[in-house]
């Protein structure tokens, strides 16, 4: 047994994911990050919303919670506040995190609560059969944009930077080692962190956009992603369809929310004199 396998709950296999799905790579890289940090599985809770990504917690041999569509961060906020010493990981797809759950995403970032979010960006609602998401690139065909997508997509890096997130990174399912490294780094960060993972849904996005095999689609992800240095050399027009990779924000100066509450607010309240009724 390899060291990361103790974080995998094999008895719940098989997964519901299509052959070639990037979710398997992400599952493995998260488990590898747990292993490198040598965490007790009972000190971890993995929370997810709804969708293909939502099924991922079931396969971790840690505490796991499968919640409602878009709201994983709210449940995670309650858990983190109740047990600040635990590692609280949220796994969310692009529809889950940026459409129905968009409000919770920006507020978790603004609060800087120490939740570790893995935002899987495959640009589509996969589980419901391939409808457009807020991260589907413009002009792409989906089941609900049969004539091409007319909406621009969110740029997670800029959205979260504006929301004052203290750790923002992007990686791809093509680069397991880098992905595991950046996830591990995000787990070590004190505040709220988001690792956006560019993933392939060749079945529900690729198939309708001339990329129906996982190899063609992962090749496409390779083409549209690059280092920040290379990205900055592009013209603004060229940048529109490209995605830089790496850690964009890593701010260790911002205090984490539960730290502020328990180590700042609680002492202030207790020093104020009168105690409440018990």
């Amino acid at each position: 047994m390899r060291d990361y396998e103790k974080y995998i709950r094999y008895r719940t296999f098989p997964t519901p994911w299509c052959p070639g799905c990037g979710d398997g790579v992400i599952l493995k890289s998260i488990a590898m990050a747990f292993a490198e940090l040598n965490l007790d599985p009972d000190d971890i809770v993995v929370v997810a919303g709804i969708g293909c990504s939502g099924r991922m917690p079931t396969y971790f041999n840690t505490n796991t919670l499968h919640t409602t569509h878009g709201r994983a961060l709210t449940f995670a906020t309650g858990i983190k506040l109740a047990k600040p010493e635990k590692l609280v990981v949220v796994i969310s797809g692009d529809g889950d995190a940026t459409a129905i759950g968009g409000n919770h995403l920006i507020h978790a970032a603004r609060r800087n609560i120490g939740i570790k979010m893995i935002l899987i960006n495959n640009g589509i609602y996969g589980m419901t059969g391939g409808q457009v998401s807020p991260l589907t690139p413009p002009t792409f065909f989906t089941e609900t944009t049969p004539y091409g997508n007319i909406e621009p997509h969110f740029r997670i890096r800029l959205l979260l930077t504006a929301a004052e997130a203290s750790f923002v990174a992007r990686e791809t399912v093509n680069r397991l080692t880098q992905l595991k490294q950046v996830i591990k780094k995000s787990f070590q960060h004190k505040g709220f962190s988001v690792v956006e993972v560019m993933s392939n849904c060749h079945v529900n996005l690729g198939r309708r956009n001339k990329m129906k095999s996982p190899l063609v689609m992962t090749e496409y992800i390779k083409d549209i992603t690059m280092s920040m240095a290379d990205f900055e050399k592009l013209t603004p027009e060229e940048q529109e369809s490209k995605y830089p990779l790496g850690i964009f924000v890593e701010n260790t100066n911002r205090l984490e929310y539960t730290d502020l509450y328990y180590n700042h607010i609680v002492p202030v309240a207790q020093g104020s004199g009168a105690r409440g009724d018990k």
Binding site: V45, T58, T68, T77, G78, I79, H107, A269, Q270, D277
Partner: protein, 375 residues
Amino acid sequence: MSARKVLQGNVIIAKAALAAGCDFFAGYPITPSSEIAQYMSKEMPKLERTFIQMEDEIASLGACIGASLAGRKTMTATSGPGFSLMQEHIGMAVMAEVPVVIVNVMRGGPSTGMPTKPAQADMMQARWGTHGDHPIIALYPAFAEEMFSETVRAFNLAEKYWNPVILLSDEVLGKAHMDVEIPEPGSYEVFWEKPRQIIDLNIYDRNIGENPPRVDFFHGYPIHIDGLEHDAHGWPSFDAKTVDKMQKLRMEKIYQHLDDIIRYKEYFLDDAEVLVFSFGISARSALPAVKAAREQGIKAGLFQALTVWPFPRAALQERFKKTKKVLTVEMNMGQMKYEVERIAPPGVEKQTLLRANGMSFSPDEVLNAIKEMVR
């Protein structure tokens, strides 16, 4: 020492929640419930307990469920529009069997309605608001001391039956200041589930009708909790036999313990000719009305439901053996009257006093309605 105080209804609920061991509150401001959140924001950190104002009501109940799964006693408070937003997560709490107390200080609706006016129009929403078949417990105090005792009871029932408990109130009860006796700690029951050693994943494995044991995280053995229909291990399962058993487990843990859950008060009912059925603010008008009726020689009595869901069916049916006239008084266009009509035998005359215009009933109006029935 118990203490007599003049307190706002919302504050009585907040104080009672602290007394019941509530150590996590997440909420979102909404009239006429906001004083509960305000009180919690001030008192919780003093006790090293947790308060957070979330970004909306969906998030508030989500955070409560999360904290509850991490071992806390949790509460949120809201009103009409916020209660509507919370419905999906009420279902989540039912499905995953998570205790949480949800206060709904009812105001005029539908939609934004009348934020500063009372109503009792969320009675059916409290029962059926979330989708799917589910059991629910809803309590509704009327008098000052009940605001305290029913809040404590809401926590005890949530903790005991691992189900969301809805604590109903209304704009009048929430905003009014009342003379109240705050009981001494130790003089009322506070239920604490014993911490449980989890040694396997089959956390939902139990017999039908049995109380569920506490199933929260971080007890040495990692577990899975799911909003999907699941088997005894919490794994998603749509197997017909499994689903059938899980649904029965969730329903019967409530319906086989009605004696413990249902509470009501009966005033002057033993020889009553007219039974007034009411709850909450309307019951507060109905009690002086039946007293005035008695003074005028009319044999009227009051059945005040404290547990509104599950409906106190058996106790009312018992009364209908002798009393053949029932007057349902509620601040809505007719909701609980259907429950009364469903169980009242054909020979019972059924009348209602209904209104949903933001004006609570005066005792005189209830008295006149009683008089109409005995004329």
